[in-house]
Symmetry: C2
Subunit: 449 residues, 2 copies
């Protein structure tokens, strides 16, 4: 049952495209899942991929297009006429169609929309384009099954058959009043088990979770995960049912969010993938490296200020990478825990309590590490006061680094800034500079150079 | 509609528990969603939480238990008798029940299972316990709707009504042959649109994605995401339908996987949260810090080997934190991109091609950074040969760090080891040591000390 992409298959497809052997091509591709066809197109060059998109019917290719990388899709769409794009959009759910259109230039957008024959579909897409991409309005689809509370189950089933034509998957049936306001829901299961003459108002469930069109995507994800929802209806500011969001769209969103946090922590500022171009990758990575470079130059400057120790205590300079590594690692650990905690909404309790805990934790870890450093000094026969100075100042660096790692994301979050930007090179770099200064300053106090 | 946890609410609940005012407690809790009750219990002490679990009916508390932290749940279960736990399990889906039982001691497991009245349910749970937790068998539930190909739509709907009683959500209806082998599926939508006398064999869809009980969870997640599935049936080694996995269970799995990768990258080795105890957090963090410490001590040792440069080129020692930071940051960037690429299965093409790309990318970034370092030297009036030595050796360090960051995860992955362990302190530490050695070695070649 499993599809396996093989070099032989790609080669065969390439030859068939070359020969323009449409019949054989269709034979090979027709039965494949759209996600598998997308994987094949990924391996072909632009002209070959465009040829196949034009060959297959738009019901299939509309789904293939949704599976492609944004970059690849953009190139293929550039090879299609506005009419051809419009044909693809006709087959898509409104949320997917709006996502695709949003990628086009404004001029092209209007051209494409005017070519969509189904006026309702075009109006729906236009409506979705008005919302912010990451809001519930930007994430929702217009396709859903809605019934009136005054209908009977029988009438409802007839009407549903009509509406269901346009809805890929029926999760829930939403119940609205005469003014189209969302008042409850029905499950398909319930419909199966009651008499067809029953009125909807007698059997619908009046409790229904919903979000407003302006609710942020992150909040939608949180609600759907917390309450284990497979779909959630979206209402406008006066409570009218305007769309629904399904969990499969949110899975991508949740994963992208988690990956974005991770990428930021790793010092990658844009959404890039291993297969992007060198330029794209460089643009995403270089800014953070430059930040690290300035941090490193800051350390150079600080150490020059302590250069009187070069003759008497050169060992201190040998320890600077260790101090920088400790400050960086501790800061990254603390901030990662806080950022994930903030994302999962389980950072509770007072700031003072968290401060005490973080100090306790870093004391615990710091003392263990300081003991190891002291032990190392003892083994290599280092002067004991020097070892003590190094161990103690490292302990202090660790505590400060943990506090910086904990509170910088909390403060950013309170000010409405994404705390994830604080987890990577930003924390590492500032902790490096700060840690090295603290290390030399405390050592100087103890050793007196 | 949104539930808001407030200190006032918690206080009120605490007083009511203290007073044993069951009537008022029920009034406050009965209408709340189980996920919200779980949030409340999270804030109470163990005795209070146990009191509420015993007060509410098991239909509700079984769901509340599933929402709790594993640690909290364990404590509450310890306060319940085997019979009380069995009552909770009766209300749960088999997959949830098996997860809970797996958390108990083996002795307790048998006691609890023997107390479950529904023999079929108990047998199903026992079957699930046999599978590895992270395999499809360990993730699936036994609850599903199955119909025979020989039935009519009418008979099918009758039978479904019976089966649907036990199934929380009906995603797909699976079609089996006389030997219970999975041969296809039906959608609820299809059932709504055909005559009741139609035979199932005339309308079912013979193409159905499925996984084997032994398929790994990660692979299940990949397939369900790739093909946008909301549920996938699970078959045994001879193709018999034995269970199904729904996407809501996989969302948790996918998120946990993404978070685990991020935590590993941040140097946190166990699944911990901000609200865990200091001991748990320390245990998860200290090992990586010790690794970093040993790395740092390695750097001390390397620099001692180059101490003849202390008098002539002390500036080199001031640059070591910068070199270490560059080597670390570049390595983390490269490895994060590869690890995410491997997780999303989009690392394709030959290793040689990837090598060329990574060298190209790090040359691009490295030259930009080297130019900045040289410029800095020029501004502060540093000897030009020294600046050149620093810039050139840093460039080489960056290229090597990028290669290590790229290929260590790829090699680990090829050997069946989770590449995410290579993204954090492991890469940083080895790149630190290696980078500092390379830096001094190249500088020595150029400057000749």
């Amino acid at each position: 049952m499993q599809f396996q992409l093989s070099p032989e298959l790609i080669e065969k497809i390439e030859i068939l495209v070359e020969e323009q052997n449409d019949k054989e091509l269709l034979l090979h591709l027709e039965d494949l899942h759209h996600a598998d066809i997308a994987e094949i197109l990924d391996e072909l060059n632009l002209d070959e991929a465009t040829y196949i998109i034009k060959l297959l019917d738009s019901e299939k290719t509309s789904e293939v297009l949704m599976e492609l990388d944004e970059d690849d899709r953009e190139k293929i769409l550039n090879n299609l006429s506005s009419k051809e794009i419009a044909d693809e959009l006709e087959e898509m759910d409104t949320d997917d169609a709006a996502d695709i259109i949003a990628e086009l230039s404004e001029e092209r957008q209007e051209e494409v929309i005017s070519n969509i024959e189904d006026q309702d579909h075009a109006a729906d897409i236009k409506e979705l384009l008005r919302y912010d991409e990451d809001s519930a309005g930007g994430l929702m689809a217009k396709e859903l099954v809605r019934v009136r509370e005054t209908w009977t189950v029988g009438g409802c089933v007839r009407e549903m058959r009509r509406q269901a034509e346009n809805v890929t998957r029926v999760h829930s049936i939403y119940v609205v009043d005469a003014k189209d306001k969302l008042i409850g829901r029905l499950s398909l299961k319930d419909l199966l088990t009651v008499d067809t003459k029953t009125k909807i108002k007698e059997i619908y469930i009046p409790r229904v979770d919903f979000v407003n069109v302006h609710t942020e995507g992150e909040e939608v994800a949180r609600i759907m995960q917390k309450y284990d929802l497979e779909a959630i209806p979206v209402v406008d500011d006066i409570g009218r049912l305007v769309g629904r969001i399904t969990i499969d769209d949110m899975v991508d969103f949740i994963k992208e969010e988690a990956e974005k946090d991770y990428q930021l922590a790793a010092g990658i500022s844009q959404d890039v993938e291993a297969d992007d171009t060198i330029w794209q990758l460089s643009r995403a990575r270089l800014p953070w490296l430059v930040l690290g470079l300035f941090g490193g130059l800051g350390s150079v400057y600080i150490m020059q200020g302590f250069d009187e120790a070069l003759e008497t205590f050169p060992i201190l300079f040998f320890f600077t990478p260790l101090i920088a590594a400790m400050a960086g690692n501790v800061g990254v650990q603390s901030s990662a825990i806080i950022v994930q905690g903030l994302a999962n909404d389980n950072i509770r309790g007072s700031l003072f309590h968290r401060l005490l805990k973080e100090v306790g934790l870093s004391l615990l870890n710091g003392i263990a590490l300081a003991a190891l450093v002291f032990l190392f000094g003892f083994i290599v026969g280092q002067d004991q006061l020097t070892s003590l100075a190094i161990a103690l100042s490292m302990l202090l660096v660790i505590i400060v680094a943990a506090l910086v790692g904990t509170f910088v994301p909390i403060i950013l979050d309170k000010r409405g800034i994404d705390p994830a930007i604080a987890t990577g090179p930003f924390i590492t770099t500032s902790n490096d500079i700060f840690g090295i200064f603290l290390f030399f300053y405390i050592s100087k106090l103890i050793l007196g150079f």
